[in-house]
């Protein structure tokens, strides 16, 4: 079937099998390999992208369901070459190790901060609770998001830093 998906601001028209998963469409058809496949069962969140304005697990979304919609991936997180504050936060606070979960984590974090610019550590943990990181024990991911929140609020303390 023919679909047209807007990914990171660019329209892509492709002929795809109806069963093709969005994650494979992004990775194999468009060559956007920043989104990762990790579990098949919507548990790990390595494949999280935005569908329109909402994080989804692209391993359980058909590419056909994205027809006519906007998708945002990690490749579309930086604006004009400038890293998003969330990306900066992950670098500043050692929020990533192997880097496999990182794109999905950052996209959910971006979504959270767009809705709640001053989240508590608990709210950050709750927002990220549908995603798995095997390396960081989550501590520095939480700190990274707090760092980004603080950065975006003009350096005002956003929330109390964890110990």
């Amino acid at each position: 079937m023919q679909i047209t998906v807007n990914v990171n601001g660019t329209d892509y028209a492709r002929e795809v099998e109806p069963r093709l998963l969005l994650i494979h469409f992004l990775r194999d058809d468009l060559g956007l390999t920043g989104s990762h496949w990790g579990c098949d069962t919507s548990n790990c969140g390595a494949c999280v992208v935005w569908l329109d304005d909402t994080p989804v697990k692209s391993c359980t979304v058909l590419a056909a369901m994205a027809d006519g919609h906007r998708v945002r991936t990690v490749e579309g997180l930086a604006a004009g070459g400038e890293l998003d504050p969330v990306q900066q936060g992950f670098a500043e606070c050692h929020g990533l190790q192997c880097g496999f979960c990182t794109p999905g984590m950052m996209l959910t974090a971006r979504w959270l901060l767009d809705r709640n610019p001053d989240p508590s550590p608990e709210q950050i943990r709750e927002a990220l609770s549908g995603q798995i990181c095997r390396c960081t024990g989550y501590e520095n991911i939480v700190r990274s998001v707090l760092w980004a929140a603080k950065q975006e609020s003009g350096g005002q303390p956003a929330a109390e830093q964890p110990a």
């Binding site: 098949d40 990690v74 880097g99």
Partner: protein, 794 residues
């Protein structure tokens, strides 16, 4: 973080070089590799745990229009590739020929034009199985009537793999006979799985004209894999190039070679095109190397006033259907015999029996430091049980029996020589951070109110950095690591190492090591790894060995460069080399600090027209092979605070205090990150994760729906501390740290839960302490979680 200070210079919390690509989605993982003409492979797996293969019909699959090849065990037999050597002197079926021996075992391999078609074709293969009785419970594997799993091995009449022991049995028995108090406990360290977020995979590209094979793969040990491929596939080793691109976590899961890798190689040879094989999550959990599965009986002997005298253990080790556990050859139970832990004992003895079962092969994986996880769990549970028996505080009992600083270097009753340590100090730092007396007061108060709060302690000693090549090899490959350092004329350096980061940040840390030795900025040092054509030989990254071995090699090779630079500098400064001193990143004339040259100046001269003394070749490049004289012995003190709801069995980890001593910290930010990750693993193993089986051998942990991994809400905010006791034999005093927290944290959590439940008279319950398991244990009916599954019936 609280504790000892940092070193300075190029060391310190430098931001990671690796992050730039990962943050932009520009990492390069195995599944990201695209090649012209790339085909995709998929593995057909056994639905049964034990069955004879009557026939395999691939006709329909071969007729699929997008299928390029269907490979069976029979086809591999013709090439001598149906079996491959394991890392424990056993063999493992690449594709089953005679029988299947665990659920998920590889039976056939399809190569197709795309990954969906490859999967479709698996459905078209018809295998006729004759089911056989499955051996699932290790405790029954040696029963006289048990089905013989490995009848492929000549003369095999049972499921016994090995017996192994360490320590002095007679001396230990004598100590036990004379002891005031003996406490015994059976405990299971259940089967777990490392489950890196990126599953295993390979892209194989064989060029039939040149005979060159290139394999991009998820390998923690690219050089060892290259040698293994030469041995298995029979290709000349110099024609094989193994590239480990970015790896999405390893934790030991990516140390072995898997049948899928061999199938991808054969697929490329058969089709003449590159073949990609990447397993899915269920394949990863059901067929690749698991961890633990140690059925342990521990006994501890002590005086009535709390002096620990001896320890003994009997272990039944479930190795699955093929003995594929990965550890140095001389140690079939890994380093389990470091089980005397951190205490000053008179005698100890352990014996381990390994058995086959109809489960996936493996055993040594998941950041276990070659079975030190199991060892630390045993001794730390036994010490807690002894404290309970004696009616003393477990912190006091530990403090009384910990090795004292003046005892180092210390040779333990089973022969390990611990390099350095200050154990009481680490425990005291942890207790200070926790405010231990206040916690005990709070606990007493809560018990009055009927609330169940637990405080658990563990103290661990690791042995990492395998290892002295005289004692430690894997398949005959001694565990020494090479390093090569080039210094360009402008003083920029390229370090090539054999170890392979899976997220540990080697590109940053190892640049810091070289920078520190040569007075450079870490930005001026590029680290090359993960490509056998571009790096010297070495055994890879597992067992927390990168910093102890390859990191030492990096320091040594940098010092070699520095000595070469000294000769050149002596010519430049018109002074004798003996009159030069290295200070502030320069060679300078002793007594004349203004008169010196830095590495960049010396490098340019070393490549220039400067006339050098006879026998001095010029340039500054150097290489080395580092053969560690001993393991390094990091240690730590952990305290875990839990709240347990006896009505639901729910455990909440409220606080976790971790004080680690890994010697000199090159990059404390990265060290802390390593500890954080290991602590989360501890929560998983203690409370959530188990690969369980039903009686027929169906794997009950085959997806993330069933194999539960901690998320951000199950983990507390970790509270870290540090002490620094340098390793006396490591060139920069560093010890390994990658696995410390995974090794040390599970007993702290279990001790904490059982401390919370002490009012119920509960002495012990096995991991994982799921709500169901805890609730049943409170009712006096603890679960065998490894057989029934985490939600199984009591």
């Amino acid at each position: 973080m609280k504790g000892d200070g940092e070193v300075g210079g190029a060391y310190g919390p430098v931001k990671r070089k690796e992050d730039a690509r990962f943050l932009r989605g520009q990492g390069n993982f195995t599944d990201d590799i695209q090649l012209p003409g790339l085909l995709h492979g998929a593995v057909l797996r056994s639905p049964l745990a034990h069955a004879r293969i009557v026939s395999i019909d691939t006709t329909a699959a071969e007729a699929h229009p997008r299928v390029k090849a269907v490979i069976t065990g029979q086809a591999l037999e013709g090439r001598g590739l149906a079996w491959m050597p394991t890392l424990s002197q056993d063999v493992q079926a690449v594709l089953a020929t005679d029988k299947v021996r665990f659920q998920g075992q590889e039976v056939a391999f399809v190569v197709a034009e795309d990954r969906y078609s490859a999967r479709d074709a698996l459905e078209l293969i018809n295998v006729d199985y004759e089911p056989l009785p499955a051996v699932i419970d290790a405790a029954k594997a040696l029963d006289p009537g048990a089905a013989v799993i490995r009848d492929d091995l000549a003369g095999r009449q049972d499921n016994h793999i090995f017996d192994w022991e360490a320590g002095d049995q007679a001396a230990t028995d004598a100590v036990f006979a004379g002891a005031d108090v003996v406490v015994a406990q059976d405990m299971l360290y259940p089967r777990s799985h490392p489950a890196p977020l990126e599953t295993c995979g390979a892209v194989a590209d064989f060029n039939p004209v040149s005979g060159q094979l290139t394999v991009w793969t998820t390998s923690q040990a690219p050089h060892a894999h290259r040698t293994l491929y030469a041995l298995v596939v029979g290709l000349p080793e110099h024609k094989i190039r193994v590239i480990s691109p970015d790896i999405g976590g390893g934790f030991g899961n990516k140390a072995p070679i898997y049948p899928g890798y061999i199938c991808a190689i054969v697929g490329s040879m058969v089709t003449g095109r590159p073949v990609k094989w990447v397993e899915d999550r269920s394949e990863n959990l059901m067929s690749t190397t698991f961890a633990r599965d140690y059925h342990m009986h521990g006994e501890i002997a002590a005086t009535r006033d709390g002096k620990i005298l001896g320890l003994r253990a009997r272990v039944l080790a479930d190795h699955g259907a093929f003995n594929g556990s990965a550890q140095p050859s001389k140690f079939p139970a890994g380093f389990f015999h470091i089980f005397t832990g951190s205490y000053d004992l008179r005698a100890a003895h352990c014996q381990v029996t390994g058995v086959y079962t109809n489960k996936a092969p493996g055993g040594v994986a998941y950041s276990c430091s070659f079975r030190i996880t199991e060892a630390v769990y045993l001794v730390e549970r036994m010490v807690d049980l002894l404290a309970r028996e004696l009616g003393v505080d477990p912190a006091d009992l530990r403090m009384k029996n910990l090795l004292r600083p003046e005892q180092f270097p210390y040779t333990c009753p089973t022969g390990w020589q611990y390099d350095s340590g200050n154990y009481p100090r680490a425990l005291q730092v942890a207790m200070d951070i926790a405010d231990y007396p206040e916690l005990r007061r709070e606990q007493a108060e809560k018990r009055q109110r009927g609330e169940y709060m637990g405080i658990g302690i563990s103290f661990f000693t690791e042995g990492v950095g395998a290892g002295p090549r005289k004692h430690m090899d894997i398949l005959g490959l001694g565990m020494a690591d090479g390093a090569h350092l080039r210094v360009h004329p402008t003083g920029k350096a390229v370090l090539s190492v054999s170890c392979q980061s899976q997220g540990q940040g080697h590109e940053t840390t190892f640049a810091q090591i070289v920078a520190q030795e040569l007075g450079l900025s870490p930005d001026d040092v590029e680290v090359v790894h993960g490509d056998t054509d571009r790096t010297p030989f070495g055994l890879g990254t597992y067992g927390s060995r990168s910093t102890p071995v390859s990191g030492a090699a990096a320091a040594v090779v940098a010092r070699k460069v520095r000595e070469r630079a000294r000769i050149v500098a002596s010519v430049m400064l018109e002074a004798s080399p003996d009159d030069l001193e290295w200070a502030d990143g320069r060679w300078r004339v002793r007594g004349d600090p203004e008169n010196g040259r830095d590495i960049a100046e010396i490098a340019m001269a070393a490549h220039g027209p400067l006339e050098l003394p006879d026998g001095i070749e010029g340039h500054l490049d150097a290489e080395t092979v580092y053969n560690p004289p001993n393991l390094t012995h990091p240690f730590g003190a952990y305290i875990c605070v839990t709240d347990v709801d006896p009505g639901t069995g729910q455990v909440q980890v409220r606080r976790f205090i971790a004080v680690d001593d890994c010697g000199v910290r090159i990059n404390p930010m990265i060290v802390e990150g390593q500890v954080h990750g290991g602590l989360a693993d501890g929560v998983g193993m203690a409370l959530m994760q188990v690969i369980a089986f039903d009686e027929e051998g169906n794997c009950l942990g085959g997806s993330f729906m069933d194999y539960l991994i901690p998320t951000a809400v199950e983990c507390p905010s970790w509270e870290l501390g540090a002490t620094v006791t340098p390793s006396p034999h490591h060139p920069i005093g560093a010890k390994g740290v990658g696995e410390s927290a995974t090794v040390g944290s599970p007993p702290a959590i279990v001790n904490s839960v059982l401390d919370a439940l002490a009012p119920f008279g509960l002495r012990h319950a096995d991991m994982p302490l799921t709500p169901a398991n805890v609730w049943c244990a409170i009712q006096g009916r603890p679960l065998r979680a490894d057989l029934a599954g985490p939600w199984g019936t009591p």
